[in-house]
């Protein structure tokens, strides 16, 4: 008895540890051959995804890009993908190298954690070209690409600022990392562009995807008086909570309005189609070169999902006008004056935050109520 109880304890402890970091790998790839440089008749393109391709968010956006490539290039391209690849070096390397070995010409890897594995495989397969999303390392046959989501977040923030009645917004965030903080700040600044007194409460779930937790987090924001919710996590749980409580909601990554049609305002979304088509075409005609690409609103990499019915024409026009300013380079999302929570000036009037400041952002802008760990 005693030993079996110990065994239970051990088992429970082990599985708790395992439950914190699991991910299943399921391949949905085609097989094939050929390789080499120069122009080609048929390009074989592969995608390595971190989540399921129907996650309704991040990975769906990439997969829509893949489908657009298939549709546009027709029989000049063969595509394949592998989904649910863990951000763990051994597993990621295996997935990426699997495509390289099978003679794929261009391989897109779409999660930050795939950066080093991609680089490693790129060194081993100089004739294959690689494109890594959301990182910063490049090589002769490896590009980095990402987009200015902060521009879309700012516009979405304007919709939230116009919708709030008491000026209190709330955001369900994933992790306190620079990317999430930057996007949250952009959203806050957008809301303040419409409603200068708007504030925003922040809750971190420490997970990209845990609907029950996201639901708890969203409820706590409503209980703390927020009347417009938004999110940097992937599931629509936040919207379901807002919908049930009669609050408003700005989603993220995709049009999830069906989950809470009355709450829905809009969502900042990714659209990779044009970029993927262009890069695969570049391999077709032999013009592919490594680069570090940062797409913008102007390029259509980021944008807004369709508006909900409660967003007035006036608000839509105002957002469109701002979008035009951003596209024309007349306005920068982090244009000064920008203050941090304590009121310190982070960017003076007439200046904007530098790229370095953006990429290492570890402070909230004025108006955000919430603490960052160790700041």
């Amino acid at each position: 008895m005693k030993s079996s109880l110990k065994l239970i304890s051990l088992g429970v402890a082990l599985m708790l540890a395992a439950a914190c970091g699991t991910g299943s790998e399921s391949a949905g790839e085609d097989s094939g051959s050929t390789g080499g440089g120069g122009s080609k008749d048929v390009v074989k393109a592969a995608w390595v995804y971190v989540g399921p391709r129907n996650d309704g968010g991040w990975t769906t956006a990439h997969d829509n890009g893949r489908l657009a490539v298939e549709k546009t290039l027709g029989d000049k391209v063969e595509t394949a993908y592998v989904e649910n690849v863990p951000e763990e070096p051994a597993a990621a390397t295996r997935a990426i190298e699997g495509f390289a070995r099978k003679g794929y010409d261009i391989i897109f890897t779409t999660s930050f954690g795939f950066m080093d594995p991609t680089l490693e495989v790129a060194k081993k397969y100089p004739d294959v070209v690689f494109e890594h999303c959301s990182g910063f390392k490049t090589a002769d046959n490896m590009s980095a690409y990402f987009g200015a989501m902060e521009e879309a977040k700012f516009l979405a923030g304007m919709a939230a600022g116009a919708a709030t009645k008491n000026g209190q917004l709330g955001v369900v965030n994933a992790f306190p990392i620079p990317e999430v903080i930057r996007l949250g700040n952009a959203f806050m600044l957008g809301a303040q562009a419409v409603n200068p007194d708007a504030t925003m409460k922040v809750v971190f779930t420490n997970s990209w995807y845990d609907p029950p937790k996201e639901k708890s987090a969203a409820e706590s924001l409503l209980d703390a008086n927020s009347d417009v919710l938004t999110q940097d996590v992937d599931s629509p749980a936040t919207g379901q909570v807002a919908g049930a409580a009669g609050a408003k909601w700005v989603g993220y990554n995709s049009d999830a309005s069906e989950f809470a049609p009355d709450a829905w305002l809009t969502a900042p979304v990714w659209d990779w189609s044009d970029y993927y088509i262009e890069r695969v075409e570049a391999v077709l005609d032999g013009s592919w070169e490594s680069h570090n690409y940062y797409g913008t609103l102007a390029d259509g990499i980021v944008g807004l999902a369709p508006y909900g019915k409660s967003v007035s024409q006036e608000t839509q026009d105002m957002i469109d006008a701002k979008r035009q300013e951003i596209v024309n380079d007349e306005f920068d999302v982090f244009q000064g004056p920008v203050y941090d929570q304590s009121g310190r000036v982070m960017a003076k009037k007439g200046e904007a935050l530098s790229l370095d400041q953006l990429l290492s952002m570890d402070w909230f802008v004025k108006g955000i109520e919430g603490k960052l760990p160790a700041s």
Binding site: I8, A19, N54, T60, G170, D210, K213, A244, P373
Partner: protein
């Protein structure tokens, strides 16, 4: 933190704790019969995906719940077949079931990941009772499945401790030889207990995917099945004490987010860790308290029974 916000911790705590309650009550029935079911997490996942799929297909919430119970029970039957009839190691079999069911549920639910459910369980205020100050808001403005959990806890407690079949079940868990000698079928009782436990786990899963956060996501249980197993030990195999444990766990989660929302300076990682830390503390404390364990743990828990074999 205002009094009202503090009250919402308990409202949310009951809603978030119910999933632990369903799973723990089922596990108590199973363990009281002397069988350990570590496959809870997997059975919950299968219940969650089954409930979601059926609701998605037929727009029938309660049919979804029923299907989840049946699916959980079917996995329980598999567990019983292995550990009761084939006498495989209960710990290893349970762990295997988690991995098997995790994969199975992911495969079955592939087409509905991120799909909005056609109907969900919404909170319903119970007339009169919901008007009671504080308690009414905490306990009687919840969704129907929470009310079902109240009934099932009472019924399970009554059945286990006040009826003849309940006594038979407990005696099988304490001393199968004696039970066998007086004519109780150990095999049949254990099969029934494991299948019932699986059904409860399926119900817990349906609660997650139809009421708590209506959606399907692979691995959406996120360790809640393991917490429920720890909870059974914490509750010393009593459905009534499991109620307190379940709500404490629910409130810990709810409190953490509310502290963050009002800007209390607590690292979010610390808050995320709390339920798991709590589980470890419970296991350590319970493992040390030998006297208490002797009082409560079913004596033949984890041991296969073979007639006339010592």
């Amino acid at each position: 933190m205002s009094a009202d916000l503090f009250l919402t911790v308990f409202v949310a705590g009951v809603a978030a704790g119910t999933v632990f309650l369903f799973a723990a009550v089922g596990e108590i029935i199973t363990e009281r019969a002397g069988v350990l079911n570590l496959g809870l997490e997997g059975m919950m996942l299968v219940g969650a995906v089954t409930g979601f799929l059926v609701n998605h297909q037929f727009r029938q919430l309660w049919l979804g719940v029923l299907a989840a119970v049946v699916a959980g029970g079917a996995l329980g039957l598999l567990h019983a077949l292995l550990v009761v009839s084939f006498r495989t190691n209960q710990v290893v079999t349970g762990l295997t079931l988690v991995i098997f069911a995790g994969g199975l549920s992911g495969y079955a639910g592939e087409s509905v990941v991120g799909v909005a459910p056609p109907a969900t369980f919404e909170p319903v205020a119970i007339p009169l009772l919901s008007a009671i100050p504080v308690l009414g808001r905490v306990f009687f403005r919840q969704n129907p499945l929470v009310y079902l959990s109240y009934g099932l806890v009472v019924a399970t407690w009554f059945w286990l401790f006040k009826t003849r079949p309940g006594l038979n079940l407990r005696s099988v868990g304490e001393s199968p030889e004696t039970a066998d000698a007086v004519g109780i079928s150990v095999t049949r009782t254990r099969y029934a207990a494991v299948v019932a436990g699986g059904g409860f786990a399926g119900l817990a899963g349906a609660y997650l995917s139809l009421a708590q956060s209506p959606s399907w996501v692979p691995n959406m249980t996120a360790g809640r099945g393991w917490i429920a197993i720890a909870l059974v030990i914490f509750a010393t195999w009593s459905p009534v004490r499991a109620v307190f444990g379940a709500y404490v766990f629910g409130c810990v989660e709810a409190l953490g987010f509310r502290l963050q929302a009002v800007g209390v300076d607590i690292p979010s990682f610390f808050v995320s860790m709390l339920p798991y830390l709590f589980t470890i503390v419970v296991l350590v404390v319970i493992s040390r308290d030998t006297a208490r364990r002797r009082l409560a743990a079913p004596a033949s828990l984890g041991n296969a029974y073979v007639r006339e074999e010592r």
